[in-house]
Homo-oligomer: 450 residues x 2
């Protein structure tokens, strides 16, 4: 049986049989104790055995990391556990020698990255990767329960028209050859890894009303920071017949849904992180659930910043982007998540709906205390003429995106959507501050191991 | 409100307001009829209007594909529908001209591939892509309800040691340069797109006991067939403390779960496909639910084939692979899905557990009537010595996969897993026989559009 089951019900006085890995092994005068985990839940279980065990000698020599199968009786524990297992039989599945890198002591996260294939066995990464899994399911559940169609956006793509970031090239050309011709490549042209599935998602929203993507996206940027990875997962819902206020309603409900789903299903994991990584985590998450998100315009934000009694490194200016320090000030000013909307059009993407003032677009960024920008969204430009005009202004290749602009020719509808970087969300949920620690096998410049 | 809601409850006599696209528009002497869909469910709704409409002239000229917002009264229908909407107000959201490629007539699937961004608006692709979404959720629900951890396997990888197929290269080198050096590439070495997440999944199963991947995988093979795509989604669960029989139990339960989940949630879509694509579809799916899958060895299969009163193009042989015609014969012979296990080791992958006979491995393929091989799985080799010996035999680079073989050194456990090609499953569920028609934007040799 699984250790999870043991903790869900009362098995006192019953015979059980469990498998797992040894996390800790202590030998005392007459008894030995094994801390055994199997990863089915955050908790482990204590095994007690003594010399009555037929293979006592062998078992007592087992090192941390070894795998065993234990049959025994569930009994009340003399220690702080609710119960423990008095072993009657222990069979050894796999030995582990003293070269095993994961020992019962504090390892640095940098060290654990080097043995990324073993770090899921530590308590910290048991918590992080279970939350990653549960948060994924929260995302699917939220959208599927509300009738959204899950849409797999293509990963290999021939268009980089969004300009969202540097792309990796995908090729089967033999790089040792000279005079490589793009038209000889696998797809007959230059292709790369997608930076966003949004444009394709808009085509599905124009058929199913509501859809979402949840898949990997890529950036070939040579930036070695704590929050950049070359490969990461994005959630991109797209909703027809929905305006900017409508998409803000969805974002707020969606974020609260995920937080509440994770709090409910990962109480032990959150407690652990709250205890060992950041004391205020549980409070922070519960506060989010109880808050009403503020909605203000970019202009109002600049007003507030200009009046602030703070000397910023970058002076806040109308018509310009806001800096990290400004985000921080604004979220602290309100103490709750803040939607900043109606951004200067020149610093936002071509597909965003142009406001009547000719200067701003219906974009909205969600700024969350403690993490900064978490979600970026917008109402999309639904007018064929306005979209074309903007693309010409930006000197974009309209022909290459004819399918995208044609959506505005064939029964265009008001529609809006947003993008959530999944790892950014996980950093918020786990308070682990390096993106390399929330991805199973992170890919960053000069680093692609496992 | 959504058209889905209209069909879920009785709104007769009530005022409603709905958005959607015109699928059909018929004008009669005194009344006009619009068939309106919004993609929130498979059914559309009939709108009736007459000259009392304030903008009657304008509305009556609307062409198929236009988008409108209708306010009106739900009334009993004179036609075959249960109800229709008597329009009081129709506002036009987006016009559509006569160049719109999707007209109310039969289009070939080849034609629709050329306008892949519009085909989700047809009934056929409404059915296919909703089933794709619902089947995805079935997969997540099955595993999450049973405590599996969803694990995002890396997409960009430096190892092709599995030899599962040709890989795409991922690069940021400027191909116009001469003398390109691999060590100058983004990751400091040669990297490509993953062909499988299994090896990494094994590392997670060795920490969480149960995990699964569900993500895109890639093959750079230049094959233009109905069942090959360069980019497709794979499901790969991996289970510790599980042997070959255990993984067959899971495969059978898993497949039945998905079929039953889709039948329950997509009755209209299945009816449509059953009516217009293949009459026996519903029967086929229901039969699968009620069948007990057969389990036989590869040797027993060859015995049956050799005795068969059929002249095969390829003679069945012990120790060799079985051909499509053999798969077909065997599934028809039993009339239910068949697990074929204990395959000749020379035609199977290096990581499969070696049987005591020295000739076979604990591999299992699931052959399903009407589609052939649907799932491939195996118990994995848990012995360090045996795995190393096999890799040496195959002249593999052991050092490059040290993390993988080390799992056998650090607390090895018996474990098994399988791989399901998601599009292969969709072909089975929808009876649409070309993989290009179950992927939103398919990628195949010389074809990477949208």
């Amino acid at each position: 049986m699984e250790i999870k089951e043991l903790h869900l019900d009362n098995y006192l006085g019953k015979e059980v049989k469990i498998n797992g890995w040894i996390r800790n092994h202590r030998k005392q005068a007459h008894f030995c104790f094994i801390d055994l985990f199997d990863g089915t839940c955050f908790k482990s279980v204590q095994i007690v055995y003594d010399e009555e065990l037929s293979n006592f000698e062998e078992v007592s020599k087992l090192l941390v990391g070894s795998s065993i199968c234990v049959s025994g009786l569930v009994v009340e524990s003399s220690g702080k556990q609710e119960f423990e297992i008095k072993a009657k039989e222990v069979s050894i599945l796999g030995y582990c020698d003293e070269t095993y890198p994961i020992q019962p002591k504090r390892h640095t996260r940098e060290f654990l990255r080097d043995v990324a294939y073993l770090r899921p066995r530590t308590a910290l990464f048991q918590a992080i990767f279970r939350i990653r899994s549960v948060a994924s399911m929260a995302i699917h559940t939220y959208f599927q329960d509300r009738g959204y169609v899950y849409f797999h956006a293509p990963i290999i793509t021939a268009s980089d028209c969004e300009g969202a970031g540097e792309m990796f090239r995908v090729t089967t050309l033999d790089l040792k050859n000279k005079n490589l011709k793009d038209e000889d490549d696998f797809f007959g042209k230059v292709t790369g890894l997608t930076v966003s599935g949004q444009l394709e998602a808009e085509t599905f929203a124009s058929a199913f009303s509501k859809c979402y993507t949840f898949g990997p996206t890529f950036r070939a940027e040579n930036s070695n920071t704590k929050i950049h990875a070359s490969e990461f997962w994005m959630v991109e819902p797209e909703v027809a017949f929905c305006d900017l206020d409508g998409i803000m309603d969805i974002e707020e409900e969606f974020l609260k849904f995920i937080v509440s789903y994770v709090l409910e299903r990962c109480p032990d994991e959150i407690d652990f992180l709250n205890h060992f990584v950041e004391k205020g985590l549980r409070n922070k998450l519960e506060n989010l659930l109880n808050s009403n998100f503020v909605r203000i315009t970019h202009k109002e934000v600049i007003d507030i910043l200009k009046k602030a009694d703070v000397s910023f490194d970058f002076a806040p200016e109308y018509g310009e982007d806001i800096a990290k320090e400004h985000e921080k000030y604004i979220t602290e000013y309100f103490g709750v998540p803040v939607f900043i909307k109606d951004w200067p059009r020149d610093i936002k993407a071509f597909y965003m709906k142009q406001n009547e003032d000719g200067e701003t677009v219906r974009a909205v960024d969600l700024e969350v205390p403690g993490v900064g920008e978490l979600i970026g969204g917008s109402e999309r430009e639904a007018s064929y003429e306005k979209l074309i005009a903007r693309m010409k202004e930006l000197d974009m290749n309209i022909e290459e995106l004819d399918w995208y602009v044609n959506l505005r020719k064939f029964g265009t509808v008001p529609h809006s959507g947003f993008g959530l970087g999944f790892e950014r969300l996980l950093i918020y949920l786990t308070v682990v501050d390096n993106i390399r620690d929330v991805i199973p096998y992170p890919r960053t410049p000069k680093s692609c191991d496992f």
